[in-house]
């Protein structure tokens, strides 16, 4: 009798967990679709808000905050006034830090750190470039150490080198091998689940076409 009760209790419990988990996946998928398919500030902000809400209610998942940060970086690139752009980059930092607290030493979160720093530099390339370049490179190197199979860590490292002048240690010559490596890694990359990061391949191809001429 007691065994029955235990089995039923466990199944009820796991059923409710499953229900919660599947609604988490469903909500994430919806928000990711919105993020991927829209290129307007409005919908990216909606997606960011969705991710923030999901993140706040599940609490122990890094993905919602990670994507939220990604949305804010994208919004920053769509905004015209420099002053405001920093506000959105600040938001991206805030959410990526939350993700980092939940999942420390995560290669994807390190890539996002560098990706955000690149956005920061883009606002004032002349003064900030000098200040953040080396920090940015070391973040991508960290990301590569944490997961050598993460194609994004090579892609954004390459992008950084493409944008850096040769005399500061950048340039096409140094960047191109990294871009190739990124493309190789993309070939074999399998996201851990359908909501795990799986972006950047199209951009990598675009860069390849641009710089292989």
């Amino acid at each position: 009798m007691k065994q029955y009760m235990l089995i039923i209790l466990i199944s009820v419990f796991s059923l409710s967990l499953l229900a919660q988990n599947s609604s988490y996946i469903k909500a994430m998928k919806n928000a990711i679709t919105m993020m991927d398919t829209s290129s307007s500030i409005e919908y990216l902000q909606f997606a960011a808000n969705d991710f923030e809400r999901i993140g706040n209610s599940v609490k122990d998942e890094w993905l919602p905050y990670y994507y939220c940060a990604y949305c804010y970086v994208q919004i920053n690139y769509l905004i015209k006034t420099d002053k405001k752009r920093d506000l959105y980059v600040d938001k991206a930092v805030e959410f990526n830090n939350k993700a980092d607290n939940i999942s420390p030493d995560n290669s994807e979160i390190y890539v996002m750190k560098g990706f955000i720093l690149q956005a920061r530099m883009n606002i004032e390339p002349m003064t900030r470039g000098m200040r953040y370049n080396s920090q940015c490179i070391s973040i991508f190197k960290n990301a590569q150490e944490l997961d050598p199979e993460n194609p994004r860590s090579y892609l954004w490292h390459a992008v950084q080198l493409f944008n850096m002048p040769t005399f500061m240690g950048g340039g096409t010559e140094k960047a191109f091998p990294l871009l190739n490596k990124a493309l190789e890694k993309y070939e074999i990359f399998q996201p851990k689940s359908e909501i795990h990061p799986n972006w950047g391949l199209n951009y990598a191809k675009k860069m390849f076409v641009k710089y292989s001429k």
């Binding site: 039923i8 909606f46 808000n49 209610s57 506000l87 003064t127």
Partner: protein, 662 residues
């Protein structure tokens, strides 16, 4: 038993699947009724929620019921939480959001202050500006002298601000006063600052009305903040026309250590440029240690130490009698230690600063055969607590103790000064609204040598008149112990010299263009004055004033890849102090000062090419052949100076290096 069990299961499943649904609908607006778009509306602890649309409206369905907490947030606004009762199918909810005072839109105190920073975005200058300004040659003071309110006085040490003498300005590094910021004075030759500008990440140059955290400067403070942990491990060095240096920086995870030595000898330089007034070219040996230790997530310990020895000799002629030549030689030994620890507690609401500094400076000079020596020792401890519990109010309180031990010898006369100086301060920064901010402070000081105390009130107000412009006003009282040259003769008990500052400032800032205009009035009282006919006796009966207008224009936008600024200062000042026979313009004050700095980024050679031009109208001097009532009626020639420089940013020894040529 089975029945109960089935019932239990049913209830549980029912409670998971069949909740009553509620629609929450409403509008998010500002106080003025404007819609807030893209706000995030959520029920705490659930996925349920939505974003507001372009009209600020929103609507969503939730399966939660009973009492719930709704959270609303939006970029640029203060987030709020609100309890809500969900007991009807449709719940109407309108919410008013308050704009958050973001750093960019905020009103902030600008009266008297020029700020440079790498982090903040509301500043007039960037930290890199200091290193790349022509004429500054990586010298902090040189860069500051391109800002309004300052003037270049070629023959004396110190920052001359708004009719103030060089000794009326203090340099502060990481909250601690620097006793000897410049190399020891040599008659008629301006000495460089001892500090490398690249060790700082931020600065505030105050041409008046500065914070109650600082004192003992009648005119101005230059507040410098040193960098944190070094970025990376590297080794480097260099040889230049007048010396060589090597250094090594090591970076561990939470620690960094820099050690460096340098040796400079200006002989080749003086030979090459045919400078013949030196009978011994400046020779300088220096060792430096910079240590950083991260103690907690938000706590950093900083230690800086510099030890140096300088020797030089000059021949110079008396202005009034060019045939008469003097020879002057100097040997200086200097040790400086600056250490501090800052910790942020509890969500950065509280922070604590503790600092300690020590300086020892030994001068041994000969003027022909007359020996002059001076030994200075100073210790300073400072403690400060900052509270930020209320988001719009910052409270700072603290105190400091400085002990001085100075002894001077000239020929056979000798003087000793021992002072224990204490100060306490309290300051409140209050952002009253998005448009109005105030800073109110008070400072108490007591000097054991003077046996006198003083209380100095300080007040600044800033009001935003339009989205890009604001007006600030500052008032303050400033006290300073008389210079040590007078303290040696301590037969008289002196009082503090003091000055009242009144400053009115207007600033406009938009799209990388800045315009500032500042009016000021500085009233000096209790200045040291000679008692006539009796040698080396003084009292506090001197007075003076300085009034003027400072104008600043900076533009990083109009010319692509170029950045320029223009500073103009008009100064009207007179004093009756020291040995002045009557009220007169002091010899360090020029009526008109103009600086023009231009920098152009040349991508092809990765260099910043720039020039700076400065102009000062003539300064008065006293021709001893004239009668006393014509004191300071002769004027020196106008001063013009043009510097051209190229700073090339490059990689040497795996380190980013700025190479100058001027």
């Amino acid at each position: 038993m089975k029945k109960i069990l089935i019932l239990f299961v049913l209830i549980t499943i029912a409670s998971i699947t069949c909740n009553a649904q509620t629609t929450i609908t409403g509008k998010i607006i500002t106080k003025k009724g404007e819609p807030v778009m893209f706000a995030n509306i959520a029920i705490k602890g659930s996925f349920d929620g939505t974003s507001s649309n372009l009209d600020g409206e929103f609507s969503f369905i939730t399966s939660k019921n009973g009492e719930q907490i709704i959270m609303v947030s939006c970029i640029g606004y203060q987030a709020i939480e609100k309890a809500i009762l969900l007991n009807e199918p449709i719940v109407q909810l309108d919410i008013i959001l308050k704009p958050s005072v973001s750093e960019i839109d905020a009103v902030y105190i600008t009266a008297g202050a020029f700020e440079a920073s790498e982090e903040k975005r509301t500043v007039n200058m960037k930290s890199t500006d200091i290193g790349t300004t022509a004429g500054a040659l990586g010298n902090i003071i040189g860069a500051i002298e391109t800002l309004p309110g300052t003037q270049t006085v070629g023959e004396s040490n110190g920052l001359f601000v708004r009719g103030g003498s060089g000794s009326e300005s203090k340099i502060i590094i990481d909250e601690m006063v620097v006793l000897n910021p410049y190399y020891s004075p040599v008659p008629d030759i301006k000495q460089r600052g001892r500090f490398d500008p690249f060790m700082f990440s931020g600065m505030i140059f105050s041409s008046g009305g500065y914070s109650a955290l600082y004192g003992q400067a009648l005119s101005s403070t230059l507040i410098l903040k040193s960098k944190g942990l070094a970025d990376s491990t590297n080794t480097g060095g260099g040889i230049h026309l007048y010396g060589t240096n090597v250094f090594h920086t090591h970076r561990w995870e939470n620690t960094s250590l820099y050690t460096g030595i340098s040796y400079n000898n200006f002989q080749p330089y003086h030979y090459l440029f045919n400078i013949d007034k030196y009978n011994k070219s400046t020779e300088n040996t220096c060792g430096k240690i910079i240590f950083r230790q991260k103690i907690s997530d938000n706590g950093l310990f900083k230690f800086y130490s510099n030890i140096s020895k300088t020797e030089l000799g000059v021949d110079f002629e008396e202005i009034s009698n060019p045939d008469e030549k003097y020879s002057f030689s100097l040997e200086n030994k200097n040790l400086y230690i600056n250490s501090s620890y800052r910790e942020f507690f509890k969500d950065e609401k509280w922070s604590l600063f503790v600092g300690f500094s020590y300086s020892k400076d030994k001068d041994n000079a000969y003027l022909d055969t007359i020996n002059m020596s001076e030994d200075e020792e100073m210790m300073q401890s400072k403690i400060m607590v900052t509270n930020n519990s209320l988001s719009d109010v910052t409270i700072k309180a603290g105190g400091e103790i400085q002990s001085f031990d100075v002894s001077g010898k000239m020929d056979n006369s000798e003087g000793v000064i021992e002072d224990l100086f204490c100060a306490g301060f309290f300051e409140v920064d209050w952002i009253i609204s998005q448009k109005l901010a105030t800073r109110t402070g008070v400072r108490y000081e007591y000097s054991d040598y003077l046996l006198k105390w003083n209380i100095a009130p300080r007040l600044s107000i800033a009001y935003k008149v339009a989205s890009n412009s604001q007006i600030s006003f500052a008032f303050g009282k400033f006290y300073q112990t008389p210079e040590k040259d007078f303290l040696y003769y301590s037969d008289n008990k002196y009082d503090y010299e003091n000055a009242d500052h009144y400053i009115l400032n207007y600033q406009w800032m938009k799209n990388k263009r800045i315009f500032r205009i500042e009016l000021y009035d500085k009233e000096y009282n209790d200045l040291i004055k000679d008692i006539p006919d009796v040698q080396n006796t003084y009292n506090n009966s001197g007075t003076g004033y300085a009034r003027g207008i400072d104008i600043f224009w900076r533009d990083e936008k109009t010319i692509p890849l170029a950045d320029f600024w223009i500073s103009y200062s008009y100064l009207d000042t007179k004093r009756d102090y020291r040995d002045f026979p009557k009220e007169a313009v002091p010899d360090f004050a020029a009526k008109h000062n103009l600086s023009f700095v231009y920098k152009h980024w040349v991508g092809l050679i990765n260099s910043m090419v720039g020039f700076s031009y400065s102009y000062s109208s003539g300064r008065p001097y006293y021709d001893p052949n004239r009668p006393e009532n014509e004191f300071h009626t002769d004027y020196t020639k106008e001063y013009h100076n043009l510097d051209i420089n190229i700073s090339k940013i490059t990689k040497l020894f795996n380190r980013r290096t700025v190479i100058y040529s001027s």
